[in-house]
Symmetry: C2
Subunit: 367 residues, 2 copies
C-alpha cells in the first residue's frame, strides 16, 4: 500500500491511498478556501450516563455548484473544486468539513450538565474514484486495500493520546440519510470508548476471563456447527446472520480467529474478509436487484494503549428494510426500551440471502 499526505487550502488533511506508487505533484483541492472553524463540545447525559456531541457550524459563503457537481469525485472543473484531486489513486481520506468531533476543540460552554471539548476526529473515506461503484462492485484487491486504509487510519488516529476508539462505518442509501451517492464511508475517532462498543467489550471481557476464549470466537464456532445462517465461509473468514439478529437482514462479518484491530489482520484473513464482504454486499444488492441500504460498522479494540485479548474485529450490518417494500422503523420498544422486536426469524432472512446467486468475481453495475 502506498499513501501520500496532502494539506487542503482550508487546512484540512487529505491522504491518498493506492496499490501503486502515487505521483508527488498532486495538489489538494477544497470546495471552499475558508479555514474550517469547528469547535464541537460534549455534554454529559446524567440519566443515560453517556456523552452527547453538539456542533453548530457556521455556514460558509454561498456556493452554487452545477447540478452534476459531486464533491467526492476528482475535481474536473477548477471553478468548482471538489474534495479530491485528479490523479492515480484508489482510496482517499480527508477531514470532515463539518465534524462532530475535532481534536483542536476547546473551551466548551458551561452548562447545568458536565461539558468537555469534543476532542475526537471525523474523517471521510472515499472508497473509489468511480461515482457509480458500490462496495459490491469493488475488486477483491480494492477491498483488501480498503481494509489496509482502515488499519492505517486506526493506527494514525489511535496514536493520538485523546483518541480511545476508532470506528469505521458506511451509511449507505437515502434511507440512512445519505445525500451523496458516491461510494464513501466515515471514520469517527472518539475521546472515550462509546457506549455500544463499551458494552460489547464488557461482555467479551467477562467471557474471556471465564473461558480464556473469545465470546465472538466461540459464537462463530456455534454458528458453524449450527450451519443455518451462514452467508459466506472460508478457512479464515465468515459472514452470517447472527442467531440474535436485531435487524431482519443483519449480517456479521469477521475473521474466524480473533484479531484486535485492522492492523492485526494477516494476509490470509484480509483476503478472506474481502471475499466475505464482497459476497455479502453482492447478495444484498442482488436480493431485490437494487442497491441495498445499510449501516456497516466495524468494531475493533479500543486504542487506549491496553491489551484487549477479549476484542474481535468484526463488522455488523444494520439494513433498514424488513421486506422489499417495508422499512423496519425504530420506535417505542427499540428506542425507548432498548429491546428490539422482529417479526421474522434470523433463519428465514438468512435463507433469503443464501438463495441469492452471485458471481464473486463479477461486478454489479448500473443498478
Amino acid at each position: 500500500m502506498y499513501s501520500y499526505k496532502l494539506l487542503k487550502p482550508d487546512g484540512r488533511k487529505l491522504t491518498l491511498y493506492s496499490r501503486n506508487p502515487i505521483a508527488d505533484d498532486i495538489i489538494a483541492p477544497s470546495p471552499s478556501k475558508e479555514p474550517v472553524v469547528a469547535n464541537p463540545h460534549l455534554r454529559w447525559h446524567p440519566l443515560r450516563g453517556e456523552w452527547v456531541a453538539y456542533a453548530s457550524h457556521r455556514q460558509g459563503r454561498t456556493f452554487m455548484p452545477p447540478a452534476e457537481y459531486n464533491p467526492l469525485a476528482p475535481t474536473s472543473d477548477p471553478n468548482f473544486p471538489t474534495e479530491l484531486p485528479q490523479g492515480k489513486y484508489d482510496v482517499a481520506v480527508f477531514d470532515n468539513r463539518f465534524p462532530s468531533m475535532y481534536l483542536e476543540a476547546h473551551d466548551p460552554p458551561v452548562s447545568i450538565v458536565d461539558t468537555l471539548p469534543a476532542n475526537g476526529a471525523c474523517e471521510v473515506v472515499v472508497f473509489t474514484q468511480d461515482p457509480q461503484a458500490f462496495v459490491s462492485s469493488l475488486s477483491l484487491e480494492h477491498i483488501e486495500l480498503l481494509f489496509q486504509v482502515w488499519g492505517d487510519r486506526t493506527s494514525i488516529l489511535g496514536e493520538h493520546p485523546n483518541i480511545q476508539y476508532v470506528l469505521p462505518f458506511e451509511n449507505k442509501g437515502v434511507e440512512m440519510g445519505v445525500t451523496l451517492s458516491h461510494p464513501h464511508g466515515q471514520i469517527y475517532a472518539y475521546p472515550f470508548v462509546p457506549p455500544v462498543p463499551a458494552r460489547m467489550l464488557d461482555m467479551q471481557q467477562v467471557y474471556y476471563q471465564e473461558n480464556q476464549r473469545g465470546l465472538l470466537q466461540d459464537l462463530i464456532q456455534k454458528e458453524i456447527a449450527d450451519d443455518k445462517r451462514i452467508i459466506y465461509q472460508d478457512e479464515y473468514a465468515i459472514a452470517f446472520v447472527p442467531a440474535c439478529a436485531r435487524y431482519p437482514y443483519e449480517v456479521w462479518l469477521a475473521p474466524i480467529e480473533p484479531v484486535a484491530t485492522f492492523m492485526d489482520l494477516t494476509e490470509n484473513q484480509r483476503v478472506g474478509l474481502a471475499r466475505a464482504l464482497k459476497t455479502v454486499t453482492l447478495k444484498y444488492d442482488g436480493l431485490w436487484n437494487r442497491p441495498f441500504p445499510y449501516l456497516m460498522a466495524w468494531f475493533q479494540a479500543p486504542t487506549d494503549g491496553k491489551l484487549h485479548p477479549e476484542a474481535h474485529l468484526h463488522a455488523q450490518f444494520y439494513p433498514p428494510y424488513r421486506t422489499s417494500d417495508r422499512l423496519k422503523y425504530l420506535a417505542g420498544t427499540e428506542l425507548a426500551a432498548g429491546m428490539f422486536a422482529n417479526d421474522a426469524l434470523p433463519e428465514e432472512k438468512a435463507k433469503d440471502l443464501q438463495a441469492v446467486a452471485i458471481n464473486l468475481e463479477g461486478q454489479i453495475k448500473n443498478l
Copy 2:
C-alpha cells in the same frame, strides 16, 4: 374513572375507560373471530447482553375492508367489525393482535444462544373515539383520564409475577412508521427491566445513594434555575428541552417532585402534567403548522415488587425532525457507537418551541 372489562370473540381482552359510568350492554367486536395464536420468544444477544424478541405471525384469512375502514374507530358497519364497539367511553385498551410479547408464550425454540418464552404483554391504547384528534386536541380532563388509564394498566400488568416493567408510549406520524392515524399509543409490559430504563435506573440509584435525592429531581431544579430551556412550568409539573438533548426537539415532561409510577401521581400533579403535555403537543403541532411526529415514552419504576426511591416518572419525546424539512437520521455514530451527534444546541431548539404561541384551552383541529 370508570372502567368496563370485555372479552373479544377471538379471546383478547378489551377495557373501556370513561369519566362517566359505562353502559353494561356493550359487546366487544374484533376484526377477526379467529383466536389469536401468538408464541413470541426471546433470544439472548451475548455481545450486547440484552434480549431480542421474535414473533412470526400467521396471516389470518384475507380481509378486504372498505377504503375508509379504520380498525381503531368504533364499529359502524357490522360486516366490517373494528377493534372497538359503539358506546359512550373515552379511552379503550385492548390486547395487540400481533404481540411481540405474550403472557401465554411457551416452549421457545432451541438456539445457539439462550432463549426464553417472551412472557410479556403488548396492549393498544386508543386515546379517543375521534379519529381526527391528536393528543394536543384532547381536553385537559381527557388527558388526566389518560394518565389514570396508564396507571390502571401499569397496576394490572405489573401485578403479574412475570412483568417487571411497564412502558406506555406513543409512536406518532408516518415518519415513525405509524400506519393508523387514529390517535393511539401502546403499552409494552416486559418480563425484565429493559436496557434503556435499566441504565437510567442504575444512574438514578447511584445518585440517590450518594445524595438522598433524585437525579432527575435535582436536574429539574437546575433546569429551573438555568431558565433557558423550559417549555412549561407550574407548581407541580414541568416540561423542558433537556440540556443534554439527543434529539433536536427532544422534550422531557415530569412532575417536579418525584413519584415512582402513574399510580402515585397526586391530583395536583396529574392536573399539572396534563397542562404540560397539552402545552408541549400544542407547541409541537403549532411549530410548523402540521402534525408533529414523535416517539413519546413514559418511564416509571419497575414493577418488580421492590421500592424504587430513585425512580421519577417522566416522559421523553424523541421527534424525528431536526428542521421542518430534514429528518435526523440515526446512523453510524448513533446506532453503532451509541453517541448522538447534534448540529443544533438544545437552547436554540427550546427557543423555537418557546416562541410558538398557544391557547392552552384551545384545540388544534383539521391540521
